[in-house]
């Protein structure tokens, strides 16, 4: 029963990944695409968390790495947008 629930959750997360990717493709401005990348990263982290429940804990390391990469990429591109004068 738990396995079935985890499969349903993985399907929903994949659907939300696809929806966020649509926004990444058609977003009119660069910050839109940045928000979409943020959401894609977090949804992938959520998928890896569900996989950690499903098979083994080693998948959880990916959540840590994705969180680190997500924050660093967001702040870096935001800083690029304002030519380095963020605050």
């Amino acid at each position: 029963m738990v396995d079935f629930t985890l499969n349903v959750a993985l399907t929903m997360l994949g659907l939300s990944l696809f929806i966020a990717f649509i926004r990444f493709v058609k977003g009119p401005s660069l910050p839109d695409r940045l928000l979409a990348v943020d959401t894609v990263t977090l949804t992938l982290a959520g998928m890896f968390a569900v996989l950690a429940i499903k098979s083994s804990f080693e998948f959880f390391i990916a959540v840590l790495i994705l969180a680190l990469v997500g924050i660093i990429s967001s702040v870096t591109v935001a800083k690029y947008l304002v030519k380095g004068k963020l605050l």
Binding site: T5, M12, S16, R23, T39, G46, F60, G70, V75, L86
Partner: protein
Amino acid sequence: MITVGDIVISLLVLVGSAWMLLGSLGLLRFPDLYTRLHGTGISSTVGISLLIISVILNFAREAPLFSLLAGLTLLFILLTYPLATTAIIWAAHRVRVPIFSGTLTDEWQLYEHEELSSEAGIYLEDFETEDQSQNRYMD
């Protein structure tokens, strides 16, 4: 055999992934960058929290150290992701990403970011007289 822990974990996982789906749907359907931030905010706080809390509960009995690592990861995400979204929206507002026409006010526009450090009294006077401020952000 289904235990109480299984039911709690599957409920948390289901609600968390539904929350992520709602966040992405908001990211797709909202009209404007500043309102789309709401969708990302939803999935980056509550959705990922529910999913990682279910991981914590799943490993709490057999491997408590893994639960500790998951809790630290959750703490890191909760501390840093609001910072990232704030940086994005700050930069976007500063490079004048267009605002949805149904927005009522944009109070921050009055302060003219480049002169944030100068005295605020001038801009506060602007802020009180309504027709001047109306002209400024209705173009």
